[in-house]
Amino acid sequence: MIAAIDTSRCTGCNLCVEVCPTLVLDATDAVPVIARLAACQTCYLCEVYCPAGAIHVGADQFAPEPASFVTPDRLRRDHGWDEPRGAGQLDDYRRLGPLLNAGVEIAARRQAGPL
């Protein structure tokens, strides 16, 4: 669930209010407020979209957790969210299917062999 919006980083652009699919946040004159926490589905997309790195989403989908701003731009960097096309941010993406299938292979082989 969304844990906090860092008031020192937030620029008040309200993009998070707009992009949250379940309308967890309300706009104010300054920093948006977490108005409907129970509606948060922990999709992290407010944090990914936030250009200021001002949002932290806790990992637990069912219970609130304390905020941490140790690596505020980690998700955006992992996504390459701000990089231009052609920067290679999705160059490992083709490996998803093969790695998924390799895992299934490993499990199947383990079961076929002696335990």
């Binding site: 996504h79 490992d92 998803l96 299934v104 499990a107």
Partner: protein, 521 residues
């Protein structure tokens, strides 16, 4: 009240909706798209990473792919539909290149078929806006509008951010509201409550394949993630004893073993045997899945962690609104369906359409429905007199009284996804569930009443109750095992049952058989 006119109204904001809106715009139509959330982040594509059924334009390769899929579909799909969907996907997915940072295929080319959800939906939104589509976010549709002839003429809903009701009058309407996961916690599916099924059914639409509604995501108990890291997992109980779980190749038996263990107690996953290449790059493939562990201070490839199954309802199943013709029309004049809101049996049959086939269907059916809706709108100009078709939650048949939406939702989800019921479907439990779900439906139909934005959650409850009834009635009627539909009390597949099951009705649910065109011919 805001009243707008459009040639084509697209209800939904996921990939099928976006492709439908784009295709309609190319035909010169004025298109309005209303999304319950935000087109770009709402729905299961936005948090996922759809691979698309991808077959190069080579007659031999395509014939081979269609033959393979036909065998998997167990008699319920149609090769002509597969050929169309493969072709549309192959031609159109690369069109998003100006908006989507396609990666390398490792051989100096572009990797097109698999796309990451957040970037994909951001690209489709940008593409649709550039094409002139009017996107209205946070505008849930509440009911369809019809004219005196019963032709669908748009919809009515609520702008929940501004708390203003809206009405959109359209020459044709595309239902692209996705599937229904019954609020199971499945990532990205919070808004997928079957609203489009209910709205269309109230207009007279029928549904098909609702028994193929058993699919699961394995994930940590604290959050539903993508499933890439878990395919090589070993499983242990709380005492550290290994649990025998057949690999994912075993399909239903894999989930049945996990479900049975979860009914006994906690289950822990051990990913130490995952492919060695995965741990260093998981965060580059699925950043959000990696974050789910990092933020818990857990190294998923070293530490055992508790897991559970998250039900996917109809989403990775194949059921949905019946497609009546080659233009993706539903049974109702003026109403088209696309993506997970439509039955995917035409391409997936009884097998899971999960992953590649369902995504290709969403793109392809979106394009077919959008273009056809644009053509249809030219033949059916605006009419002044329209009326709302919504009933349950809006116009109760009895005394209006408050309904505990949260409690009813939990109970409905248990009837759909409770491990003891869903993983071991049998006559007695399905019969009992159908009775309980009927009671939920009768309560909301008889007593539910809300206005404005408050109607949205009540209509969601009505939609989940109706959808659960259709899934359960269809599962009860199909007294055999076929594809995703596994009956513990009827493990055989019967050749004479290679027919689709059509369900309709709200107060009285009716199931009838229909022979696929390719088989009938």
């Amino acid at each position: 009240m805001t009243i707008r006119a459009a040639d084509v109204l697209v209800i939904g904001g996921g990939m099928a909706a976006a492709w439908a809106a784009l295709a309609a715009t190319e035909q010169g139509a004025r298109v309005v798209m209303v999304d319950k959330g935000y087109c770009g982040t709402s729905g299961v594509t936005a948090t996922g990473g759809p691979n698309h059924w991808w077959v190069p334009d080579d007659p031999g390769l395509r014939a081979e792919a269609i033959a393979r899929q036909t065998a998997k579909a167990q008699g319920l799909a149609e090769p002509e539909w597969m050929a169309r969907i493969i072709d549309l996907t192959f031609r159109h997915l690369p069109w998003i290149a100006p908006y989507y940072p396609f990666g390398s295929d490792g051989n100096g080319g572009t990797y097109f078929s698999g796309v990451r959800g957040p970037e994909y939906m951001r690209a489709l939104r940008t593409f649709a806006l550039a094409a002139g589509v009017t996107i209205l976010d946070h505008h849930p549709a509440i009911e369809l509008l019809a004219d005196g002839d019963g032709r669908v003429r748009g919809a009515r809903g609520h702008d929940v951010r501004r708390d203003v009701p809206w009405e959109i009058h359209a020459g044709a309407t595309v239902m692209a509201t996705g599937g229904c996961a019954f609020r199971s916690g499945l990532i990205g599916a919070a808004l997928n409550t079957g609203d489009g099924f209910l709205m269309a059914a109230e207009a007279g639409a029928r549904l098909s394949g609702m028994e193929f509604s058993l699919a699961w995501s394995l994930s940590p108990t604290w959050a539903c993630t993508r499933t890439l890291p878990y395919t090589a997992a070993r499983f242990f109980d709380a005492a550290g004893a290994e649990i025998a779980v057949p690999s994912l190749r075993a399909g239903h038996a894999h989930y049945q073993a996990l479900g049975a263990a979860l009914l006994r107690g906690a289950v822990y996953a051990d990913l130490s045997e995952a492919p060695a290449a995965l741990p260093p790059i998981l965060h580059r493939i699925q950043p959000l899945t990696a974050a789910s562990f990092a933020r818990k201070g857990i190294d998923p490839f070293r530490d055992r962690f508790p897991v559970r199954l998250y039900g996917e309802g109809t989403i990775r199943g194949t059921g949905g609104l019946r497609i009546a013709d080659a233009d993706c029309r539903t049974d109702v004049p003026g109403l088209f369906a696309a993506g997970d809101a439509a039955t995917r049996e035409l391409v997936a049959g009884a097998a899971s359409g999960g992953g590649a086939v369902n995504s290709a269907w969403a793109l392809g059916s979106g394009r077919i429905a959008g273009a056809a809706a644009a053509r249809e709108s030219r033949r059916h100009r605006m009419t002044a007199a329209v009326h709302g078709l919504g009933r349950a939650g809006l116009h109760p048949t009895g005394q209006s009284r408050p309904i505990d939406i949260a409690a009813a939702t939990v109970d409905i989800e248990q009837h759909m996804h409770g491990y003891d019921r869903a993983l071991f479907r049998r006559h007695e439990t399905l019969t009992a569930s159908l009775e309980a779900l009927g009671a939920h439906w009768r309560t909301v139909a008889a007593h539910g009443q809300a206005h404005g934005g408050a109607a949205v959650p009540l209509r969601e409850l009505a939609a989940m109750a109706a959808t659960a009834q259709w899934c359960t009635a269809a599962a009860l009627a199909r007294a055999e095992t076929r594809g995703l539909h596994v009956r513990s009390d009827a493990p055989e597949t019967h050749p004479h049952r290679a027919r689709r099951q059509i369900v309709h009705g709200l107060d009285t649910v009716v199931v009838a058989a229909e022979t696929p065109a390719a088989v009938a011919a």
